[in-house]
Symmetry: C2
């Protein structure tokens, strides 16, 4: 496997509405997407774009912040928020060209892939790898969107 683009950092929050205000007014984000529900994963998500380069001349294609709020019935994010009531860093997501090839490679290395590939927040297939096998980081692997 070759290291892919760092697509986003998953950030859990008790309130996406409050986090949008924070990223807009405190951090100065100018490109905040509309939040939407990802019912399969029991979460509401919202992407915040970051500048591609240091001078802000290269567009807003930097690694995104993915705000994640649990929908009713969600247990994993709700449990994370019980331990971290203010929210916090939840996972990292790297892109790969082929999700099934990546899954086979992680499994061949003895890494615990959590479930079958499923559609993620960017509309392409994703899977997660167990943090205990990944230096303590819950790691999402996503197939690069074709139009990207």
């Amino acid at each position: 496997m070759k290291l892919g683009r760092l697509n986003h950092i998953g950030v859990a929050t008790p309130s996406i509405a409050d986090s949008i205000v924070f990223y807009r007014d405190v951090m100065g984000a100018t490109h905040i997407h509309a939040p939407f529900d990802l019912h399969d994963q029991g979460v509401k998500v919202c992407f915040v774009d970051t500048p591609t380069d240091s001078r802000g001349l290269g567009g807003m294609d930097g690694t995104q912040i993915e705000l994640i709020e649990p929908l009713p019935g969600n247990t994993s994010i709700a449990s994370f928020l019980e331990k971290n009531p203010n929210g916090g860093q939840h996972h990292l997501c790297y892109e790969v060209p082929d999700i099934h090839a990546a899954k086979a490679e992680f499994e061949a290395m003895g890494k615990r892939v959590l479930g079958e590939p499923r559609i993620g927040a960017h509309g392409t297939l994703i899977f997660f790898v167990h943090p205990k096998d990944m230096g303590g980081i819950l790691t999402e692997i996503m197939e690069t969107p074709k139009a990207h």
Copy 2:
């Protein structure tokens, strides 16, 4: 303030040597810098570069992974590793054009800036902001390197 480039994600690890093997052999990183000690902050650090864009055509100027291992006598990272023995996500770092202006802005918003600006791992001035004021995320603010 205007949101700056997401420079790096700080990742605590009990062993940079082991993490280098992980990022090289499991994640497929091809650009791993030489580790060095940052004595002022009591840490050894090592940067892992990620691809700028999805096709790997734009160079390796994506958000970096900053591996952080405590030096003897360090308490903050050591304490983080006691709670997270495998390591894990420790902080996010955004760039700003002027570190002193950024500090004044955070303070005017009532955010707890942790100490005075000091030289960070990229050789420019940095400060940290308290996670409880930042959606649960320990946030580093760094002045963009001039030559960048």
